[in-house]
């Protein structure tokens, strides 16, 4: 076999040519299969769903199953009660736009959603600052751990310690206007009067979002999560660095937020005359810490440690903001502190940055504060 004949030499060349041609042909076919994405079709494997598509698929199935179980129960009263639609991450799945009913109720839901999304435009006469409902209830009130409305809608009426009475959902929304949207400084001067259409539309929206949830159920993702207390406690001075590193790019080093070219508030002010007042839930450092850790910065949920969340929440709530509207002219801050702020974690009534927190904001006070504020404009030393 060591003997080489001319024939075998030619054969090697020919084999190489044939082999090369074969390789080119196979390569061409392979390229075509790749280009047209035929591989998964040939092997019978399904295209892998993206994470988003997987979530959507589970959510859609959950809603469809709810519909099927309801239909089954209409036909047969002995059929089991429909299960709550639950998504990929274990949270309640509210209905999607395709389930929006026709007619006056659907229209009310849509109006409610627009008020919720852009309160200053769609219920402007009752808004005394630059905030919207959706600033604190993200994803238009659908986001778990961001006080979602599908969880709140099934919890009221209920007794509340804050005002020592049974609260309806209208009362809760009234509170949001009064405190979080600082209605005292609005055109109307107060929250919408009882029975106002704004309440009806917002409640329609909440009720619709909770479709399929059981009354009074404590749904996962309800409210804001609590951040565990840390050994070091909270400290606004430590929070200043956390704020600069994580919040200032959007909310500004001065915390006053930013608007776009249309004049729409894109990043809401976190303190000062355009923010929530001293009666809002967010002025409680623990509440703010929970919201912040679970939701901020946008797109980076749960990126802050417990300590950072506490400290930055303290920093944000260490500055002046509009007065608590329950503190009437004749009531001083220490009385209001005792009556309305006892037992809650906050700086109300403390003197920080040379300001008595709670005394409310006048133009003169705000300007005086700005001159001595512990933050400064970027680029200015």
């Amino acid at each position: 076999m060591t003997d080489k004949t001319p024939y075998r030499e030619r054969s090697a060349t020919r084999r190489l040519v044939y082999g090369g041609l074969g390789a080119v042909i196979f390569f061409g076919i392979g390229s075509l299969i790749y280009d047209f994405g035929l591989f998964s079709w040939m092997t019978g494997t399904r295209t892998v769903l993206s994470e988003s598509e997987q979530h959507l698929k589970t959510a859609t199935q959950a809603r469809r199953q709810l519909e099927e179980e309801r239909t089954a129960r209409r036909d047969n009263p002995d059929a089991p009660a429909p299960a709550q639609p639950t998504g990929e991450a274990g949270y309640f799945v509210p209905p999607g736009d395709e389930e929006l009913p026709d007619g006056p109720f659907g229209e009310s839901v849509e109006r409610g959603r627009e008020i919720f999304r852009n309160t200053g435009t769609n219920a402007g006469e009752f808004v005394g600052n630059d905030l919207s409902c959706a600033n604190c209830h993200l994803d238009t009130g659908k986001r778990e751990n961001s006080a979602p409305m599908w969880a709140a809608a099934i919890q009221y009426p209920a007794f509340r310690g804050k005002n020592q009475m049974v609260n309806t959902m209208e009362d809760r929304v009234n509170g949001c206007f009064t405190y979080s949207m600082n209605a005292q400084d609005s055109e109307h001067g107060d929250a919408p009067p009882p029975g106002h259409q704004v309440y009806k539309d917002l409640q329609s929206y909440f009720y619709w979002l909770a479709d399929g949830a059981a009354l009074n159920e404590d749904l996962p993702g309800r409210g804001y999560p609590s951040v565990e207390e840390t050994d070091q406690g909270y400290d606004w001075q430590r929070g200043q660095q956390v704020f600069t590193d994580n919040c200032a790019a959007c909310h500004g080093i001065d915390g006053q937020g930013q608007q776009d070219l249309n004049g729409r508030t894109i990043f809401p002010p976190l303190w000062g005359p355009g923010s929530y007042n001293w009666g809002a839930g967010m002025h409680r450092i623990n509440t703010a810490a929970g919201f912040i850790q679970a939701n901020m910065p946008l797109g980076k949920p749960n990126s802050l440690t417990d300590q950072e969340a506490w400290d930055v929440a303290a920093y944000i709530n260490s500055f002046p903001r509009p007065a608590d509207p329950r503190q009437t002219d004749k009531m001083d801050v220490s009385t209001a502190d005792e009556r309305f702020h006892e037992g809650s974690i906050n700086y109300y009534g403390d003197t920080l940055h040379g300001v008595l927190l709670g005394e409310g904001i006048t133009q003169e006070r705000w300007e005086r504060f700005l001159r001595t504020a512990p933050f400064h404009e970027p680029g200015v030393d």
Binding site: K4, E9, A12, R15, L16, G19, G20, A23, F27, Y34, S50, E51, S52, E53, H55, L56, A59, G87, E88, A89, L138, D139, T140, K142, R143, Q241, T244, D245, N246, A248, A249, C250, I253, Q258, Q259, D260, L261, N262, G263, R264, I266, F267, P297, L298, G299, K300, P301, P378, G379, V380
Partner: protein
């Protein structure tokens, strides 16, 4: 023996070349050719205290810059470097994977130039071009392009799902922790402040390549890594969809200078 084996060697070489070609052709999602490694060390070196507000401070500098002095840089080739306009167009309108610059925030543009110069943003062409620019030039260029006016001429070109793109822009996809694009880039995608550039009217190829680069780590220079975290959650088709959707929108109106109407008359634009 050698005669018998050389076909094997040739085949091996052919296979290696083919594999190399395949990797070159399909190995990278984006069509950019600058194959530098992601600059993770640089990111770690960047001062975290000033970084989130870098564009804001540069915006203040750019606001005082004089754009008159940089007309040569914009429109004339200099020695071994070339004019901005030779790629970005005479009106800063860009094309394909070259971005539209007209109407972007001055601080944003200036920051990108600094980032190229300091290796925080990677692109062979841009890194070469900025190497001859002074800080003053960069600020003046930022001011110039932020005030420049160019008509919107973009079309979706990536075969993306426009409706999906619209949803991502207006609502986000919270199941994967992606907020609405417009919750930071403004209610019509016209940008916010100095750090958040307009997206509306940007070329779809450019937007897509940036998202892909953030996704794969090649671009790494957004404030508090916001865009990296968002892009890493987007699928390739999501990136195409949202890039295509942005190209269907009108670019921002220019900031407080004249604009030309269809009939040729020029009017002052009032910005609130």
């Amino acid at each position: 023996m050698l005669a018998k084996r050389w076909p094997i060697a040739v085949s091996a070489i052919v296979v290696i070349i083919s594999l190399g070609w395949l990797v070159a052709r399909y190995g990278n999602d984006s069509s950019v050719s600058d194959a530098a490694e992601p600059s993770l060390e640089k990111a770690a070196v960047a001062n975290p205290l000033t970084d989130p507000l870098y564009a804001d401070s540069l915006g203040e500098i750019a606001a005082k810059a004089n754009p008159e002095n940089i007309s040569d840089i914009v429109s004339a080739d200099r020695g071994d470097s070339w004019a901005c306009a030779s790629c970005h167009g005479g009106q800063g309108q860009g094309a394909g994977s070259v971005p539209r610059l007209a109407g972007l925030p001055a601080g944003y543009i200036t920051k990108q130039l600094h980032d190229y110069a300091d290796g925080r943003r990677l692109n062979d062409n841009m890194q070469h071009v900025v190497s001859s620019l002074s800080d003053e030039d960069m600020a003046a260029l930022g001011a110039y392009y932020s005030r420049l006016e160019a008509p919107g001429d973009t079309q979706p070109q990536l075969g993306g799902n426009i409706e999906r793109g619209r949803t991502l822009a207006l609502e986000g996809d919270w199941a994967i922790d992606v907020p609405a694009c417009f919750s930071c880039h403004g209610s019509s995608g016209w940008g916010v402040g100095q750090s958040f550039p307009s997206l509306a009217g940007q070329h779809s190829s450019y937007t897509y390549i940036q998202l892909a680069n953030w996704n794969n780590g090649k671009r790494n220079n957004s404030p508090i890594q916001l865009m990296r975290d968002i892009a890493q959650k987007l699928s390739d088709s999501d990136m195409r969809s949202v890039a295509d959707f942005m190209a269907t929108l009108s670019p921002p109106q220019t900031l407080g200078i004249t604009r030309t109407s269809d009939d040729g008359s020029r009017t002052e634009v009032e910005i609130p």
